[in-house]
Symmetry: C2
Subunit: 318 residues, 2 copies
């Protein structure tokens, strides 16, 4: 896998897929008759909640690490994340024999801390403010010489995340609409590039919590507008677009549908109850958007990326 | 499918499978590296939580209804159940164009009531005591001429339930041990017959809550001993063995492992957290038993039937 300095093209995504296949699951695509009835569509769910580390993040992390030179690998890698990216980098590093330094804030739930520890990563605790994390990871990079791997604003990461939609389209073949949630935009960017190349006529729809709607605002404004609030249960979607993801999303994504907290929780409950699978709130955002605007999607074939399943079972919203 | 008046043999189970295939899902078999590590075994989970109606019960119900004559089908069917069997009979009846009368006690959760209603069954409410239900269903049979379909003590039901283990063994091929939970014993009986025929050397292990251990006590005593208590969260396992299931289980099941409530809840949490799938407490009993006695099963290939996924998400034990 080469290091990508420009937006991934189709050949890059094919190369990324071939490179990461030995390290990730080919997750199943599930359908549910009840949800089809409720939405009036045929919905195909790509289940990245069943992915290694419980989220799509292992795809991009693996793709980024595989692009490092031998010399870079020896230096180790560093990132700051309290979420699924931390686990992705930790596991991918373990598999590739790379030392990983992960900066995690003090308020990281112990279950996530332990998962990263179990993968053998070096954990450095920081203050809870994003600035504290950023400073700390800069310090780690300065001290150790490790290569910094950001969580989404990185073309190899985006190429890796694109493989989820690639597999979904390979399996279902015909889809009218592709939907994904938008946090920092890595998954959405990758989904958009794969869809544009495989199904040029399909609609590409982004979905976002109303309480963290930076992508919606940014597309309206034609420039990056950071989140005004991060009032959402969808903890994976509180991050802001950055230049690379904004560039791709504003080129390919037709529209962004925003949904309320109540709509997210309702869609999450529906997936749990009817499909008997565990998804995190971020994963439920596309279905919430589909249910909200189901009239315009009637009878269409809809592909949805279920981004992950890492949720605190002791603290459910229903 | 013929009506079975004796213990199903291998030809009967093959016929049952062929008959019900158009009406049920072939559910997936899942594995999980983390659970393999924790148990020291290779565990293959047959996911009947993804089955229609969310449980294996649709298999037996369909098999029983397909064995009715044209004349009997016209009379309709009746059963009493507040659980998964009610939904199984209701859906199978709907598919086959048979009128179903389902006696459900007053304390049935509305979600289960509504599911049965949605399948178009006629619901008759009874008192909560098992005697009230039994009297009421007798009355319904007397009034309507409907055919009574019990929930497990019935050879066609047992032949239908046997198809879950049949599919599991067809897929994995070699297994050293088969484990299932025991309530009334329909699933365990079917699992035992399929295993005996397909893998004559495999160990067949029953699993049961300590708080509803009638099968354990019955096998010890050599005669049916009803539950002394039904103090268990595993609501599908509170019923007693009856003559047909006791006969089969005492012939084929090598041993019954009982587990505490804490062990059931722990195993259920493990399945939810690591496999990202929703199972009901009854489904977690075999894994709880395996974890409890993992030393003796070390390095073995274990098949486990996850019986269902119908659980009240608002009332979880963790």
């Amino acid at each position: 896998m080469e290091k990508l300095n420009t937006e991934p093209n189709w050949a890059d995504i094919q190369a990324a897929h071939q490179a990461i296949v030995p390290y990730v699951h080919r997750t199943p695509v599930l359908t549910n008759q009840n949800i089809n009835k409720l939405t009036g569509c045929q919905v195909y769910f790509k289940c990245e909640n069943f992915q290694k580390v419980g989220a799509f993040k292992i795809r991009g992390a693996t793709c980024a690490l595989l692009a490092l030179t031998e010399e870079e690998r020896k230096k180790g890698v560093a990132t700051d994340s309290s979420g699924n990216h931390a686990q992705g980098i930790a596991l991918a590093s373990k598999k590739l024999g790379i030392k990983a330094h992960i900066v995690m804030p003090q308020n990281t739930p112990s279950i996530k801390l332990n998962a990263v520890k179990d993968y053998g990563a070096n954990i450095i605790r920081s203050g809870n403010h994003p600035d504290d994390r950023e400073k700390m990871v800069e310090q780690v990079v300065a001290d150790t010489g490790a290569i910094y791997i950001p969580s989404y604003n990185h073309y190899n990461i985006i190429a890796g995340q694109a493989t989820a939609a690639k597999e979904l389209i390979e399996e279902v073949r015909i889809l009218d609409v592709l939907m994904a949630p938008i946090g920092g935009g890595g998954l959405m960017s990758g989904t958009a590039i794969s869809t544009k190349n495989m199904l040029p006529n399909a609609q590409i729809i982004g979905t976002e919590p109303l309480g963290a709607n930076d992508a919606y605002l940014s597309l309206q404004a034609g420039t990056i507008v950071p989140n005004q609030t991060v009032n959402t249960i969808a903890d994976g979607l509180r991050t802001n677009l950055k230049d690379k993801t904004f560039g791709i999303i504003s080129k390919y994504v037709e529209e962004i549908i925003t949904v309320t907290e109540q709509e997210i929780i309702g869609a999450m409950h529906l997936i749990w109850e009817r499909m008997k699978i565990i998804v995190e709130p971020s994963s439920a955002v596309p279905l919430a958007a589909l249910l909200k605007q189901k009239k315009r999607f009637k009878n269409k074939k809809i592909g949805i990326i279920l981004s992950g399943g890492n949720v605190d079972l002791k603290n459910l919203p229903f």
